[in-house]
């Protein structure tokens, strides 16, 4: 997984809510680009 996705994940973990429903996100890609967005 590229640095872009890792950066997105780290950023979202830094700003996410402390309570409420939760999700464990696993992303694996051998070659390519991945990104995480919140809405």
């Amino acid at each position: 997984m590229g640095e872009s996705a890792k950066h997105d994940v780290q950023e979202t973990m830094d700003t996410q809510p402390d309570s409420g429903p939760a999700v464990l996100l696993k992303m694996r890609m051998t070659m390519g680009a991945a990104s995480l967005e919140r809405f």
């Binding site: 996100l25 696993k26 992303m27 390519g32 991945a34 967005e37 919140r38």
Partner: protein, 235 residues
């Protein structure tokens, strides 16, 4: 008991429905939909009737095979294979070695009130799928070799443990994924371009798992901001 139905239909005909074997009360019908070589538009409809296949817009012959049987224990299995006919003509843009391919559109309707254990496969074609409002005990979806759009425009009527989506060689736009209301989402694929949007009606508990593995391609995951991210095993 095994009943097999064969039919070859031509454009301007709507394939007739037949009397399926409903499962016992509380038991899902194991439904396998195997679709190929056409553009499939799949929608859900109110009621507990039969799976509908409408090829009235098809210009070329398409084939439908239906099998329904009792599997014992009150469980019924229903299998539908449907394949269209790809036509090709010389393309002006030089794609596909000078040929372009045209796909007929075939519409499939699935009743919302039937409890289904659904296996859906679409290969060598295109799809525009909306499974919103279905009553599912389990669902596995495979999208191969083509451009595919899958959405759940409204929540399924029953929470499920796991949804599996496999896809390769194509573009895959998946939306309304929260409305599947699964505890675990498994996405697997090889080459392809993915967009996974978890809008819709998120299941509040227990904690959910979203797992994606692919060998090559582009991936965009969109998650609601009210969800807490538990961790990451990106690699």
């Amino acid at each position: 008991m095994r009943r097999t139905y064969w039919a070859v239909t031509f454009g301007l005909l709507t394939f007739p429905v037949f009397a399926a074997t409903p499962g016992s009360a509380g038991q899902p019908t194991a439904l396998e939909l195997d679709l190929a070589d056409a553009r499939f538009v799949i929608r859900t409809v109110p009621g507990d009737g039969e799976i509908g296949i409408d090829g009235s817009a098809a210009k070329l012959p398409f084939k439908v095979k239906r099998t329904a049987r009792e599997a014992g224990g009150g469980v019924s299995k229903e299998t539908i294979h449907c394949s269209g006919t790809k036509s090709r003509r010389k393309g002006a843009d030089g794609t596909n070695d000078g040929w372009t391919y045209e796909l007929d559109t075939i519409q499939v309707t699935i009743p919302q009130d039937r409890l289904l254990d659904l296996d859906l496969v679409v290969h060598q074609g295109q799809s525009d799928i909306d499974l919103g409002g279905l009553t599912l005990s389990a669902v596995r979806i495979e999208l191969l070799s083509g451009d595919h759009e899958l959405t759940f425009s409204s929540p399924v009527r029953r929470d499920i443990d796991q949804v599996q989506v496999r896809a390769s060689r194509g573009e895959f736009n998946l939306r309304g994924l929260a409305s599947i209301r699964a505890r675990e989402f498994l996405f697997r694929g090889s080459a392809g371009s993915w967009e996974l949007e978890f809008d819709g009606n998120w299941r509040e508990e227990p904690d959910s798992v979203v797992s994606f593995e692919a060998s090559m391609g582009d991936l965009v995951v969109r998650l609601p901001s009210h969800l807490k991210l538990l961790g990451d095993s990106s690699s």
